[in-house]
Amino acid sequence: MIMTNLETVPGKEITAHYGLVQGSTIRAKHVGRDIMAGIKNVFGGELTGYTELLKESRDEATRRMQEQAHELGANAIVNVRFSTSSVAQGAAEILCYGTAVRVQ
């Protein structure tokens, strides 16, 4: 599955449009990570646990989007966008959306 955040796939031609596809996930961190992050908060710097958590969630959201596109018979997703929002205390929603197309 080709993914791009451009409106076309460079060097290829779009032959069919299948409309919007999306994938989302809401993840919460577990307590251990939260405590570690609390300690790191004092000294500042990167919170590796959170970076990984959000990366995993983004991969999951992307996977769901790709599955949806695959079901429609598409072989590429163009104009992909990501969006993050904090929906509840300690949980983040990751949304990923794009246009499913067939390219040649």
């Binding site: 599955m1 080709i2 993914m3 791009t4 955040n5 451009l6 409106e7 796939v9 460079p10 060097g11 992050a37 790191k40 908060n41 004092v42 000294f43 500042g44 710097g45 990167e46 919170l47 590796t48 959170y50 970076t51 959000l54 990366k55 983004r58 991969d59 992307t62 996977r63 790709q66 992909v80 966008r81 990501f82 969006s83 993050t84 929002s85 904090s86 205390q89 300690g90 983040a92």
Partner: protein
């Protein structure tokens, strides 16, 4: 005497955390900036555009979406400085450097995924605040950078798998 110490304990702890945060935080920030600068010079020949079009003479052989993200948090000392700044107004330098570090790091991580790519087009950046509870404070932020890496020419590199993100 013991009672006074016991009563003062939370105060002493708070001061201790601020001092420790200031000492370690400043050192870590300096180290991070040094690392960012050396890595940025290594990538000087790979342009990043935030436009959607490729240079007209170039033919794309392969494209791939690349992502880089980082979650970074401020230290206690800077949080205190930022709190004081809101009284007088003006630029909050403590936060400026925090966000700057996060953005540059996210872009560098994105570039690590685009090994050997000739150009990265349509760069998008997104910032999200992850701190809960303390509504007025900006403690922890996530920065995501993503774009489309393009390889020119007819020979697509084989060393990387066709991974989604």
């Amino acid at each position: 005497m013991m009672e006074i110490i016991a009563n003062l304990f939370p105060f002493i702890l708070a001061v201790g955390l601020v001092v420790a945060g200031g000492l370690f935080g400043a050192r870590r920030e300096k180290k991070h900036y040094t690392s960012i600068k050396t890595r940025e010079t290594a990538y000087a020949r790979q342009p990043i555009l935030n436009t959607k079009t490729l240079p007209p003479q170039a033919a794309a052989a392969r494209t791939e979406m690349v992502c880089g993200s980082v979650v970074i948090s401020i230290d206690r000392f800077k949080q205190l400085l930022a709190g004081l700044r809101t009284i007088f107004g003006g630029e909050v330098h403590a936060y400026t450097s925090l966000i700057d570090r996060a953005r540059r790091e996210a872009v560098l991580r994105m570039r690590e995924q685009a090994l050997g790519a000739d150009i990265i087009v349509n760069l998008k950046m997104e910032t999200a605040s992850l701190s809960q509870g303390a509504k007025k404070q900006m403690g922890t932020i996530e920065v995501l950078a993503y774009g489309t890496a393009v390889w020119y020419g007819s020979e697509p590199p084989r060393h990387r798998s066709q991974q989604a993100v």
